[in-house]
């Protein structure tokens, strides 16, 4: 399996993502600078977390128009799996690969903590190593993570089974109290129509080794390796 991580000015989770991919793949991913226009052969493209372009204008807005993004959009539309984590999710919405937008947290605070997520789907390259409705613990670290979409879009996401993860309680119930940032319908991550593009605010790459106090994020990378090897 070959993977590429796109590095924007202001990305700061690109190396964590590289460690996670390397430990799952047994080989190093390609690190691709945002200003490049050519992307190596890739079975997976990862857009990492961070603060691309200092979050100027809107989070992810400038990065979505980086030279490399033209090729990322082309590959995504051709079926190459794309994983956008945190700022990467924001970039995917601004690039039009996923619907909706990530707005300022309802609390107006930067939130950095572990949250519980209900796995809503396991039939995708990203999630096959999770079990249906499994509750996993993954950290979030963001100020602009409040997922917003109009009612028609939310209805569509629900109907097409495109919600990947929801913020939940320990027993998997989805409550307002478990929603850290005010996201519509407790949405923490969504898929595109084909289940090959995933955007999520939580950081699976930050929980891949017991030394990080948990390994719930590692299953996403092992799922990808088993599917895309």
């Amino acid at each position: 399996m070959k993977a590429s991580i796109i590095v924007f000015p202001g990305s700061n989770c690109d190396r964590d993502a590289a460690v996670a991919l390397r430990s799952a793949m047994g080989a190093a991913p390609d690190m691709v600078w945002h200003g490049d226009s050519e992307l190596p052969d890739s079975d997976l493209i990862l857009l990492p977390g961070g603060f691309s372009y200092g979050d100027y204008l809107r989070s992810g807005a400038m990065a979505a128009h980086s030279p490399i993004m033209r090729e990322v959009v082309r590959r995504a539309k051709a079926g190459t799996p794309v994983l956008g984590i945190c700022n990467g999710f924001q970039v995917l919405t601004e690039a039009g690969l996923l619907p909706g937008v990530l707005m300022r947290n309802a609390t107006l605070r930067f939130i950095c903590k572990d949250v519980l997520l209900k796995v809503e789907r396991t039939d995708t390259p990203f999630a096959r190593h999770y079990t249906p409705a499994q509750v996993v613990r993954i950290p979030i670290a963001h100020k602009d993570g409040c997922y917003f979409a109009d009612p028609a879009t939310l209805h569509l996401l629900e109907n097409e089974n495109r919600i990947a993860f929801r913020y939940c309680e320990e027993d998997g119930t989805v409550t307002d109290a478990a929603n850290p940032n005010g996201s519509s319908d407790n949405i923490a991550g969504i898929y595109n129509e084909t289940g090959t593009v995933l955007g999520m605010m939580p950081h699976p790459e930050r929980l891949i080794d017991p030394v990080q106090s948990g390994t719930d994020g590692a299953k996403m990378f092992s799922s990808l390796v088993e599917t895309l090897h």
Binding site: L57, R58, M103, A106, L108, F148
Partner: protein, 81 residues
């Protein structure tokens, strides 16, 4: 020419920053404040001198980058630089 672009949140879109500003205005004694919505103001200077062409260009800028039309509306005034 110069475009003075105003970007505002659509009605129905939550604006926690506007709410916080409203709270601060109340704390300052402006009890009559009934609502605050925060937006953006952007000035763009373009070389185009034909107003019709300049308008078309500004609108493309707003649609492609300056506003996210899922949550934001934009309006602008055009003036000779």
């Amino acid at each position: 020419m110069k475009a003075r672009i105003t970007i505002t949140l659509k009605s129905g879109v939550l604006d926690p920053q506007g709410k916080a500003i409203q709270g601060a205005l109340h704390a300052l004694g402006f009890d009559g404040v009934e609502g605050v919505r925060q937006g953006k103001f952007i000035e763009v200077e373009v070389a185009e001198t034909d107003p019709e062409k300049a308008r078309a260009e500004i609108e493309r800028m707003c649609e492609q980058l300056l506003a996210n039309t899922i949550i934001e509306n934009y309006a602008y005034e055009l003036e000779a630089a």
